[in-house]
């Protein structure tokens, strides 16, 4: 341990507090996406449309004119690939997506408090409102992206070969 004879101190000058900076936000994103657990959750969400597409391919639904209900979507998949994402969303929106977001969001503040890292953030200092806003934005923005990705990815290959199914 080089205690006193450490390397000369780098220029550590205080800059004026910036009004707007994405640095803490990016750090927050890194915190969420740096965890394998969260990636596993996202992978499960992304797998749902694939599973639906494969399932309808292997066991085609009885027919599109069966009346209302979610079956209509599943039945339509065979004729139009766009319905894969719609069907997946109808399956995910009520349960899986809120569950995934809730597990990350629940961990955002409570997890930090539990680890004790919250007190170090607060003594940096990070103002309470700023912390909550950054945490909120860090959860909402990627989730919005993932929903839009989910609706787009399954359609992309099908746009090239609409008769594949």
């Amino acid at each position: 341990m080089s205690v006193v004879e450490a390397t000369p101190a780098p220029i550590a000058q205080r800059v004026k507090p910036r009004r707007f900076s994405t640095r803490f936000y990016r750090s927050e994103l890194m915190l969420i996406f740096g965890r394998r657990r969260n990636w596993a959750g996202l992978a499960v969400l992304a797998a749902v449309p694939l599973i639906i597409a494969v399932a309808t391919k292997v066991w085609p639904p009885t027919g599109p004119a069966n009346g209302g209900g979610p079956d209509t979507f599943f039945a339509s998949i065979t004729s139009n690939g766009l319905f894969v994402s719609l069907a997946a969303l109808t399956a995910e929106l009520p349960l899986f997506l809120p569950l995934a977001v809730a597990s990350i969001a629940g961990d955002a503040v409570a997890g930090e408090a539990n680890l004790g890292t919250l007190r170090y953030l607060l003594s940096v200092p990070v103002q309470r409102t700023r912390l909550l806003l950054v945490k909120y934005a860090a959860i909402v923005a990627p989730m919005g992206c993932s929903v839009s990705v989910e609706t787009n990815i399954p359609t992309a290959p099908r746009a090239e070969s609409p008769t594949a199914m």
Binding site: V3, T7, A12, Q13, R14, R119, Y120, P125
Partner: protein
């Protein structure tokens, strides 16, 4: 600029019925290394949490670096490095990533120098080699050092360290101590909470003693030492004769202690010069094996202040 780095008046924290901190008036002068002593559960950590604005006081007010605290926390806290209730970091991030995250949260830190500053801080506590290891794999000593490194990311005017040597081996304790001394030599004020008296004796210039939520003593260490009354101690085979000679010289509170193989007589010399005592003893034919003027150590002083053993608390 205000003289004191930390000052508080009547700082009080009540948890339901229990009073954890009761009317504490702290005064830590600038440039001091202030040892904040007290048995476990005496309210040291609660006081520190209030100082940093992590919890609000029930009553009283305080100022850090001459600025009133919760109002000016945005200006003051960036100049304060803190280690509260042990180290806490994200276990799945590396030591470096953890420090970068803390640095990212600081709006007054320059992002362009972040990497250099983080590496410098890691180097200073000897963690550079383990910078890429995940925090989970760190030993307790390394965790404690990482927490210390976090306080060195920026130049600080005040360091508030809550038991920085907790859980460290003797070697680590010594290293941490030398880091603290180096920081103090750079001009930072250090407020150090501990229950280790040896730590205080070695690095502190000022002492505050907490007991059951109250600040029972606060003074420069030199002043506390000066108040301590030294005793003379004579090791001899004839304690009765020695006691008689001492009493004859005007030494008060003479006590003859008979221990197996090591009989000793102690007393308060008052104005009697030690060399006179030795001369008188030799003159009267008392065989002197050893002679010493002993000042009571800090431990005895604190036990007398807190009125009980140091690790017992109500």
């Amino acid at each position: 600029m205000d003289e004191s780095a930390v000052s508080s008046t009547g700082l009080t924290k009540r948890f339901r019925r229990q009073v954890a901190v009761d009317g504490v008036d702290l005064a830590v002068p600038r440039g001091a290394v202030y040892g904040f002593l007290g048995p476990n559960g005496s309210g040291k950590t609660t006081t520190i949490r209030m100082l940093l604005g992590l919890i609000g006081p029930t009553a009283g007010s305080h100022a850090l670096l001459g600025r009133d605290m919760p109002q000016h926390s945005g200006d003051v806290l960036p100049r304060v490095g803190a280690l509260v209730e042990g180290p806490a970091f994200h276990p799945y991030l590396s030591g470096r990533a953890n420090l970068l995250r803390l640095d990212a949260a600081d709006r007054t830190a320059d992002p362009r120098t972040a990497r250099a500053r983080v590496d410098h801080a890691l180097d200073r506590v000897g963690l550079l080699a383990a910078a890429r290891k995940r925090y989970r794999a760190y030993s307790l000593g390394m965790r404690q050092r990482l927490a210390l490194a976090a306080t060195m990311l920026m130049p600080r005017d005040l360091l508030i360290l809550d038991e920085p040597t907790n859980g460290l081996d003797p070697q680590g304790t010594r290293e941490v101590r030398s880091i603290i001394s180096a920081l103090a030599a750079d001009g930072a004020t250090v407020m150090l909470s501990t229950h280790l008296l040896s730590e205080v004796e070695q690095i502190c210039t000022h002492v505050g003693v907490m007991h059951l939520g109250k600040l029972v003593a606060q003074a420069p260490l030199v002043q506390l030492r000066a108040q301590a009354v030294p005793r003379v101690r004579v090791d001899t085979a004839q304690p009765e004769d020695a006691a008689r000679v001492l009493t004859g010289l005007g030494v008060t509170e003479v006590e003859a202690r008979v221990e197996a193989g090591a009989d000793a007589v102690t007393g308060l010399p008052g104005d009697v010069a030690p060399e006179k005592i030795v001369a008188a003893l030799v003159h009267d034919g008392v065989p002197v094996r050893g002679f010493a003027v002993v000042a009571p150590d800090l431990e005895e002083m604190f036990v007398s202040l807190t009125g009980e053993g140091f690790d017992v608390s109500g």
